[in-house]
Amino acid sequence: MHDRHSPAPVLIFSYGNPSRGDDALGPAIFDLLDQRQRQTRDLDDVDLLTDFQLQIEHAVDLENRQYVLFIDADVSCAEPFELRPLQAERDDSFTTHAMSPAAVLAVYEQINKNAAPPAYLLTIRAYEFGLGVPMSAAAGKNLQQAFQYVVAGRWLREAQTQVFKNIDPEHIAEKNL
């Protein structure tokens, strides 16, 4: 178990707007993971962070990590969720308001002059993003499956082996690491 005053080896960073329908998937999984971390030792070596959006200052949160998992809502990924590795990539879009996780990695490398820690993106399938709209039932179901997958540590095993299998919801809740 790591010293809570220093960064944990693993960072799980989930993000989104809690009041934007399924965009709440990011903060919702943060709440579930945070509760699990407080109640059990399942996530002892993990730091949990959440925010509305990714921005340049989040590059600082990646320092001294062995692995980073970003979690976001996505309308185009497969159900219930997908995991994929990330590569650092500069963001040159026309707005400064939000960054991709790959762009945050690029900022990390820019300011630290070394490679970013291995990072992965878990996208949870989302459907509806209306302001003030509650999370859809389908997204809520995907959220629960993604939560079990993360808590079980499957993402980390797939990251360590670099074998990203299709997710079988029937076998998500494997034994914890």
Binding site: Q53, F94, H97, I111, F129
Partner: protein
């Protein structure tokens, strides 16, 4: 200064060019250019649909929830909405004057918010092509050469932002979803430890902010004529100023000046903003088009934000920012600065002011006092206006006897700049559109013009991945005749 946007004759004879970002979430920006027979761009339309539902989101909720609730409206500047809502609810609870502690902590929070927001532009200076654009290799080489003398700017930009976030965390209680401001005041003062924590780094922040202003001046002057002319438009400007004319972000009267600097109105009590500003509606946009009532819809549009604020104020209260303001204003030779790219310069002068102002406030013992809240006789409505990082932000609520908000009216900063952004895009498009064939230069320069205003395109939510753009050229029969696509890798392909 009449607008040609809505005056295109015989629209059936025009050619429409659509620049559309491809995102996972519907509702982000889209640019449509309408080309006349003489190949001039006669209309430019930046479509922003993200502001739909803001007012409905607030209506039906108790007024005391508003300062927390409205932070959900915007992921990039939630504190601006938080404070505007707090000011509106101050009026509702009859708090005519806040305690010194409450006002100073709110101001500190607001300086932190503006600092962290503006620091993003400092960071982006390390990629000057994003902010200033390049239309030839010589310019590119010269400006990159200037930037190379500042190898630490990216890190400084990140750490300045981080510092601003810490100011917000300390004053609002949390990094996000803070509850610092409440109707009639604030919910906590600062401890001596918190003040010392923020004081530890503030001298460094001031130093970096000074460096940022010096750097952007060098970049601006490196290609002075080009930067002055790019997307430059003659506009009115509106902002808040203090009673003595000083630069003001938190509380003051409204001042509007025309493109020559002549006063249109001054020191207006913002609770009567409806008497001076109206909102036009276009059938092609969800976003409204505010204009100064006395000038009418065609001539009354205006700009807000850093460029307007620095142009409009008589002085800064902090010495380093004031010295920079004087240099800035000197290029106008007595007239307001109308260069759209000067937004970036003005933004960094404001960044410097924020660091100085934070340093000053951190030495004020009122921050630790315990008199946090005032109230008076309940009112049926309230208006809160602040200068958000991107410009003037209006919140107006009406409540019933149970304290439920029955009506909410918002004008966000980007809406205030709506027409001005279209005008700047049109200016750029006329310069870079070569006949009926789209070019990478056109697409890039339209993006540069948009970035100068830093519109709140993603108020609603983050967007996964970058925001690639698609540039379509349609003829008068809506037949696609050319298309450029900017992929997530930044690669631009002709896809037709």
């Amino acid at each position: 200064m009449s607008s040609a946007l809505e005056t295109a004759a015989n629209p059936q004879d025009q050619t429409r060019i659509v620049i559309e970002p491809l995102t996972r979430v519907e509702g982000h920006g889209k640019v449509t250019l309408l080309q006349g027979k003489n190949r001039n761009i006669v209309q430019a339309r930046l479509h922003i649909t993200e502001f739909r539902g803001f007012e409905k989101f607030i209506q039906g909720r108790p007024y005391w929830e508003a300062p927390v609730l409205v932070q959900r409206l915007c992921g990039i500047c939630p504190v601006s909405h938080h404070l505007a809502a707090a000011k509106a609810t101050d009026m509702i609870v009859g708090a005519r004057e806040l305690t010194p502690t409450a006002e100073k902590i709110r101001r500190l929070m607001h300086f932190g918010q503006t600092l962290q927001s503006h620091a993003l532009h400092f960071f982006h200076l390390c990629s000057p092509d994003l902010l200033f654009g390049f239309d030839d290799e010589v310019r590119h080489r010269n400006i990159v050469g200037v930037i190379e003398d500042y190898p630490e700017i990216a890190k400084q930009g990140v750490l300045l932002r981080k510092y601003g976030q810490e100011v917000i965390r300390v004053t609002a209680g949390r990094r996000i979803h803070g509850t610092g401001a409440i109707p009639g005041g604030i919910n906590k003062s600062l401890s001596l430890d918190e003040i010392h924590y923020l004081q530890n780094d503030i001298a460094q922040m001031i130093d970096w902010a000074q460096g940022a202003v010096e750097l952007i001046k060098k970049v601006f002057f490196e290609q002075y004529d080009y930067h002055v002319a790019f997307a430059s438009i003659e506009s009115n400007m509106m902002s808040m100023v203090r009673a003595d004319g000083a630069f003001e972000l938190y509380h003051g009267g409204l001042r509007a000046r025309d493109h020559t600097g002549k006063a249109i109105f001054d020191h207006i009590d913002y609770t009567h903003y409806n008497d001076y500003i109206r909102e036009g509606v276009k059938d092609w946009s969800y976003m409204k088009f505010p204009f100064i009532t006395s000038l009418g819809e065609d001539d009354g549009w205006y700009r807000v934000g850093p460029l307007a604020r620095v142009n409009n104020c008589d002085f800064f209260t902090t010495p380093l920012a004031e010295a920079q303001r004087l240099e800035f204003m000197a290029i106008g030779k007595g007239l307001p600065i109308q260069s759209t790219l000067a937004y970036h310069w003005a933004r960094l002068i404001e960044l410097l002011h924020c660091t100085e102002a934070i340093a000053g406030l951190l030495g004020d013992s009122d921050l630790m006092a315990k008199d946090l809240r005032t109230k008076g006789e309940l009112q049926s409505s309230g208006t809160g206006v602040i200068e958000a990082p991107r410009g003037t932000l209006f919140h107006h609520y009406e409540v019933n006897e149970e304290g439920i908000i029955t009506k909410a009216s918002l004008i966000v900063s980007t809406t205030n700049n709506n027409q001005a952004m279209n005008e700047s895009i049109r200016k750029v498009a006329n310069q870079y559109l070569d006949g009926h064939r789209l070019s990478e230069a056109l697409l890039n320069q339209v993006e540069v013009a948009i970035r100068a205003y830093d519109p709140c395109l993603s108020c609603a939510t983050h967007a996964i991945g970058k925001m690639p753009m698609e540039l379509n050229l349609l003829d008068e029969n809506d037949v696609l005749i050319d298309r450029l696509e900017k992929r997530v890798t930044g690669q631009i392909n002709r896809t037709l």
